[in-house]
Every structure is written in structure tokens, then in C-alpha cells.
């Protein structure tokens, strides 16, 4: 279907005009008064599920890698890459790095709205890592400081002078989600 109606929208009729919205700044920038009103902590702290005892009948590593990427995109990741890990503490050979578009930088915009990219990233990494565990392989997500470094290694983009990830598709407006470390047989690409 080449003729999606999305492509025919007139550009000046935007449904959401942020400048007209008196509450938008509160949504993006005011941190929640009660942390329990944000679901991010709950998802982050949720214990990891079991690895399914029977391993799934997998395809060859290149195909599995493309399936993992397709799944990540279906779950809402805008960029996804896979890189090899040299010295991982738990001995995982691969890292899957997902990034989602972020209109506001989640490191500065601490409101529930500013954290929406984090929420979208957590949805992708939680379901993707759970799926890999159900395929019978180990997969763990953890917020780590080397997320940006691994994103560069996974060819999502390059670093600029200040150490921010710059991508060809979205510039610096991306949020790198938690890195998934796994022993699923993949190929780096």
C-alpha cells in the first residue's frame, strides 16, 4: 500500500499544537510529586523472569538477528542495532541496543511527558528481553552507563564533541533504551 493517507496530510493542520497548550510545559517538565504515579520505576525494578527450559528451534544467526530487529521495531523502537560484547561479567556475547525518538531530552525533562521516551524504551526492552528468555536463552536488561558507547558500536550513530549520540535519522533527538545483553546466537550488524 503505497498510498497511505498519512502522506497526504496537509502540513499546516497539525492536531497537536504544543505552543497553544497551557498545560504542556507541566506535562513535560514538572517531575511527579509522587514517584508511584510514574510507572518507570516499577518496570525497571521488576524481577527478571525465568528462561524457558526448552530452547526454540532457531533459524541461522543472521536470520535471528533480523527477526530480533524486526520485533524491536514492531514494539516501537525507532533504531535498533546489535553489537558483540568482549568482556561481559555474565558472559553474554551480544548486546541489543534499541533507541526511540525523543522530542524532549529525558535527562532534562523530568515530567511524566518528558519521560515518555523512557517509557517507550522500557516497553521495547522488557518485552524483547522477555521474548528472548521465552525462546530459551538468557537476556537481561540493566541501565548502564555504557549505553551510548554500545549504541555507537551497534552502528546507531556517532558521538559528537559533548559525548551525545548523533544519529543519521533523528540527530540527537533519540533516547537509548536499556541495553539487552543476551546469549541468543546473533550476528553483529
Amino acid at each position: 500500500m503505497a498510498w497511505r493517507s498519512d502522506g497526504l496530510k496537509v502540513p499546516w493542520r497539525r492536531t497537536e499544537r504544543r505552543s497553544d497548550d497551557p498545560y504542556w510545559d507541566f506535562f513535560i517538565n514538572t517531575p511527579p510529586a509522587d514517584r508511584a504515579n510514574s510507572i518507570l520505576d516499577v518496570i525497571r525494578k521488576a524481577p527478571e523472569g525465568n528462561v524457558f527450559p526448552t530452547r526454540a528451534d532457531l533459524h541461522s544467526p543472521e536470520v535471528t538477528a533480523s527477526h530480533v530487529k524486526e520485533m524491536a521495531r514492531y514494539l516501537g523502537a525507532d533504531l535498533v542495532g546489535i553489537t558483540e560484547l568482549d568482556n561481559d561479567d555474565a558472559g553474554h556475547p551480544f548486546a541489543i541496543v534499541c533507541a526511540v525518538r525523543a522530542a524532549d531530552d529525558p535527562r532534562e525533562a523530568l515530567g511524566i511527558g518528558g519521560q515518555v521516551p523512557v517509557q517507550n524504551g522500557l516497553f521495547v526492552t522488557f518485552v524483547l528481553s522477555a521474548w528472548i528468555r521465552e525462546l530459551g536463552y538468557r537476556a537481561s536488561t540493566a541501565t548502564s552507563r555504557d549505553g551510548t558507547r554500545l549504541a555507537v558500536a551497534a552502528k546507531l550513530g556517532t558521538l559528537d564533541r559533548t559525548g551525545l549520540l548523533v544519529t543519521a535519522e533523528y540527530g540527537t533527538g533519540v533516547h537509548v533504551a536499556d541495553v539487552i545483553r543476551t546469549d541468543l546466537p546473533l550476528t553483529a550488524a
Binding site: 500500500m1 498510498w3 497511505r4 493517507s5 498519512d6 497526504l8 492536531t15 497537536e16 504544543r18 497548550d21 497551557p22 498545560y23 504542556w24 507541566f26 506535562f27 514538572t30 511527579p32 510529586a33 509522587d34 514517584r35 508511584a36 504515579n37 510514574s38 510507572i39 516499577v42 518496570i43 521488576a46 524481577p47 527478571e48 523472569g49 525465568n50 524457558f52 526454540a56 528451534d57 532457531l58 533459524h59 541461522s60 543472521e62 536470520v63 527477526h67 524486526e70 520485533m71 514492531y74 514494539l75 516501537g76 511524566i112 511527558g113 515518555v116 517509557q119 517507550n120 516497553f123 522488557f126 518485552v127 522477555a130 521474548w131 528468555r133 521465552e134 525462546l135
Partner: protein
């Protein structure tokens, strides 16, 4: 005659042309709806075991479908819905213009990824009944309905929390074409998880604005009808202007945030369903009625036989989880492109007296191009609906892996297969008639 404030019954709400309230409506007890009945074992052993004791063979279903996981910790909604509830912010944001706040809430939900957001005016008949303490089972949010009511009547609740926010997601059209297959299940269950995440985040945000956000209170279909998500079709599903029947109806948010409610819509569903019957013809269990609307609990509508619809599930467990046939074959369920927008626009602007003629023309076009039953082959992530049920084959291009199982012949042509029904499904109908 003096009436205690909040106890008089308001006039029945207008729900559009597809559903009419004709008599007194008793509030539905959520404990008497299908899933709670089944989890108490009231629908028989086969269904109980399917619902409570079955682990799916499909890894993606184990991650995304309620109750068929191997480990609950791998299932996101169980984490999200059982999260501790936050407090309502004591510093309430004043709302001078409810219309601006309505636009804001809709923009927020869209920003989080919702496809459809509407606001309904609450009506007592939409609410689930407050069950009395002995049977007050907890819902998925760990509420007891009695706790949420706090001794108030439904009338008082609808007055105190006058708005219901319906926010939801649509399923992927292309994957849905392989319904009665794990691919269709993925389209359904993944977007359902996303909708639950969005609603939980929206609930937290409304509390941060300083207003109440109650879950597990309102019937989503009633709120959806009143707020113009769509009209109720013959298949018992809300049919949306853009997405057709492929939208979820998760639990909406009841709130006292000042908003402007939306109105019911007319998409021509009422006129189409009178003539079409595609869902009734295709339903594998004959659960969708061929006949006219009936009055049930004071509501005039098409009523499906939920019990027969439910009873087929344990038999198909090895092939798929969710049937979705009635949603897929519905002529309104089409890709979201200009020609479908044009068609729905033409139908909804046509004078009502001339609609039967137009519907017959559109139905003929639909039958000609889509067929009475679609059998599209869909390939996704190594799943392939062109492989006959029960057979195994690897149809992934470039795969050099040696698969452990014996493989059947390559699939031929571009036809997708449904898992066959093991039983003559008429037996379900006869037994319960």
C-alpha cells in the same frame, strides 16, 4: 417531592443509532462477566484448565497473552497493573477552560502512543455494580469494587466523577490478516499490552494534575459508544471510523478532571450491519446472530452468544489464542488509506433513507475484492500462515540452519490457512440453546 441530591436517576444517555436504552439497566457485576466466571471454574473443566493451567507453545504468546505465560514475570501487564497506586497530588492544577484541558489530555494520550482518545459523560448505567463484601473479588488492579464506591450509589459516583476517558490502540492491519494464527495473536496482544501501559501512565498523570483517576469502574463499550469511538456492530465490537473493528476496548479512566465530553458518532455501521452479516457467516462457532437486535438488560443491540464464542478456545490452543475472525472480516476493517476514508465519509453523509442501496453496492464491491472469507498468506518473523496447520517448514529466505524437526513440503501459492476446527462447532450451539 424532595429528592436527595445524587440519587435521582438521570435520563438514559444517547448512545448513537446502533444501541438504544429502552428499559431499566441493572449495573453489571464484574464478577459475573466471562473471565471471572471461568476463573472460578463455573464454565467447566476444559475452559478452566485452558484459562488457568495452560502454557502456550508459542514464545511470543507466552510473553504477550494473559494467563498463558510460563512465568508471570515475563508478562508486562502483570507488572504494570499490580504496581502500587500513587497519591493524588495535593496541589491541584486549576482548570479554567475545560476545552483546553480536553485537548491537552488527548494530546498527552496521543504522545504516549494511543490511537484513539475520547471523553464520555459518565452515566450510572455504564458503571459496574459495587459487589457486596463477601463476593467482592479483587479485579486486576487489586481493587475491590466496594472500596472504590466507598458506599456511594452509581448515581452519586457518576455525579462525583462525571467524565470517562477512553484511550486505546489499534491492532496492526497486515498481521491481523493471519487471524486464527499466532501472527494475528501478536497483532492483538502486543497492542493490548501497549494500551494497558498507556492507560496506567495516563492514570498517573491525571493524579499528578491533582484529580482522581479510577480504574475498573466503567464498561468500556458503553463509554466508547457515548463518546463516539464508534458504533456497535453485529459482531458485538465497537467499529471505529478509521480502524474498523480492530481496536481494543481496555478499561477506561473515570475522573473528576473538568473536561468536555464527545458525542456519539454515525459511521453508517447501523445501516451496514443490517445487510452485511459477513461476521455471522464467518464465525467458526455461530456465535454472531443472523437475526435482528434483541433487548437485553434494557439495552437494544445485537447480542452475540459469548459462551459459544468462549468455548472454542481450549480446542484451538495448539494453533492460536485469539480468534479475531469477526473483527478481520468486517468490511470496515481495512487499511487506513484514502479510499476507505472516502467510503466511510460517503456512507456517513448519505441520507439515511438512501443508505441501504449504497450499502448493497459497497458490500458487492467488498465481496468482489476481498472475498467472503479472506485467506491471505502472511509471513512475519519466521511465522508463515501459508504452512498448513500441523505441518512444519522453514520458509525464511537465506536460513541455513538445520532445523531439528521433520519438515513438510514447501507451501504453494499465496493462500493462508486457518487452523481447522477439531469439533463440529454446531454442537456448542445445540448444547446451550
Amino acid at each position: 417531592m424532595a429528592v436527595t441530591p445524587g440519587t435521582e436517576t438521570p435520563a438514559p444517555p444517547y448512545l448513537g443509532r446502533s444501541v438504544r436504552i429502552v428499559g431499566p439497566v441493572a449495573n453489571v457485576d464484574m464478577n459475573q462477566t466471562p473471565h471471572p466466571k471461568n476463573s472460578r471454574g463455573e464454565l467447566g473443566k476444559a475452559l478452566f484448565n485452558w484459562y488457568r493451567n495452560t502454557i502456550s507453545r508459542d514464545p511470543l504468546t507466552r510473553v504477550s497473552a494473559p494467563n498463558h505465560f510460563a512465568d508471570q514475570r515475563n508478562f508486562l501487564p502483570s507488572v504494570v497493573n499490580q504496581a502500587p497506586k500513587g497519591k493524588v497530588n495535593s496541589r491541584q492544577i486549576p482548570v479554567s477552560d475545560p476545552a483546553a484541558m480536553t485537548r491537552h489530555i488527548k494530546a498527552v494520550a496521543h504522545h504516549m502512543g494511543a490511537d484513539v482518545v475520547t471523553v464520555a459523560r459518565a452515566h450510572p448505567s455504564f458503571l459496574y455494580a459495587a459487589s457486596t463484601p463477601p463476593s467482592g473479588a479483587r479485579d486486576v488492579y487489586q481493587n475491590r469494587s466496594g472500596d472504590v464506591y466507598q458506599g456511594r450509589t452509581p448515581e452519586q459516583m457518576a455525579e462525583r466523577y462525571p467524565y470517562i476517558i477512553v484511550a486505546t490502540t489499534a491492532w496492526d492491519y497486515d498481521k491481523l490478516q493471519a487471524h486464527r494464527h499466532y501472527i494475528g495473536d501478536a497483532a492483538y496482544h502486543v497492542s493490548q499490552m501497549k494500551a494497558q501501559l498507556i492507560l496506567k501512565a495516563l492514570e498517573g498523570y491525571i493524579k499528578e494534575l491533582g484529580y482522581a483517576a479510577l480504574r475498573g469502574m466503567s464498561n468500556p463499550q458503553a463509554a466508547g459508544l457515548a463518546s463516539g469511538v464508534g458504533e456497535l456492530g453485529r459482531n458485538g465490537l465497537l467499529i471505529h471510523r478509521k480502524f474498523g473493528a480492530r481496536i481494543h476496548m481496555p478499561d477506561p479512566i473515570m475522573t473528576d478532571l473538568p473536561l468536555v465530553p464527545d458525542q456519539p458518532v454515525d459511521n453508517g455501521v447501523e445501516d451496514f450491519c443490517k445487510i452485511c452479516r459477513k461476521c455471522a457467516i464467518n464465525c467458526p462457532t455461530n456465535s454472531v446472530p443472523f437475526g435482528d437486535k434483541v433487548v437485553f438488560n434494557g439495552v437494544e443491540k445485537y447480542k452475540i452468544n459469548w459462551l459459544t464464542c468462549y468455548k472454542v478456545r481450549p480446542y484451538m490452543d495448539a494453533h492460536w489464542g485469539s480468534c479475531l475472525t469477526c473483527a478481520t472480516v468486517c468490511p470496515f476493517t481495512k487499511p487506513n488509506v484514502w479510499w476507505r476514508s472516502l467510503t466511510v465519509w460517503a456512507l456517513s453523509t448519505c441520507p439515511i433513507t438512501a443508505r441501504p442501496v449504497l450499502v448493497r453496492v459497497l458490500k458487492a464491491i467488498d465481496d468482489r475484492f476481498w472475498g467472503a472469507t479472506r485467506q491471505t498468506r502472511v509471513r512475519w518473523l519466521g511465522y508463515d500462515s501459508g504452512i498448513k496447520p500441523g505441518e512444519q517448514a522453514c520458509t525464511v529466505a537465506g536460513c541455513t540452519a538445520e532445523h531439528g524437526t521433520a519438515h513438510a513440503a514447501e507451501p504453494v501459492g499465496n493462500i493462508g490457512y486457518y487452523a481447522p476446527l477439531k469439533e463440529n462447532t454446531n454442537r456448542f450451539v445445540k448444547r446451550d440453546a
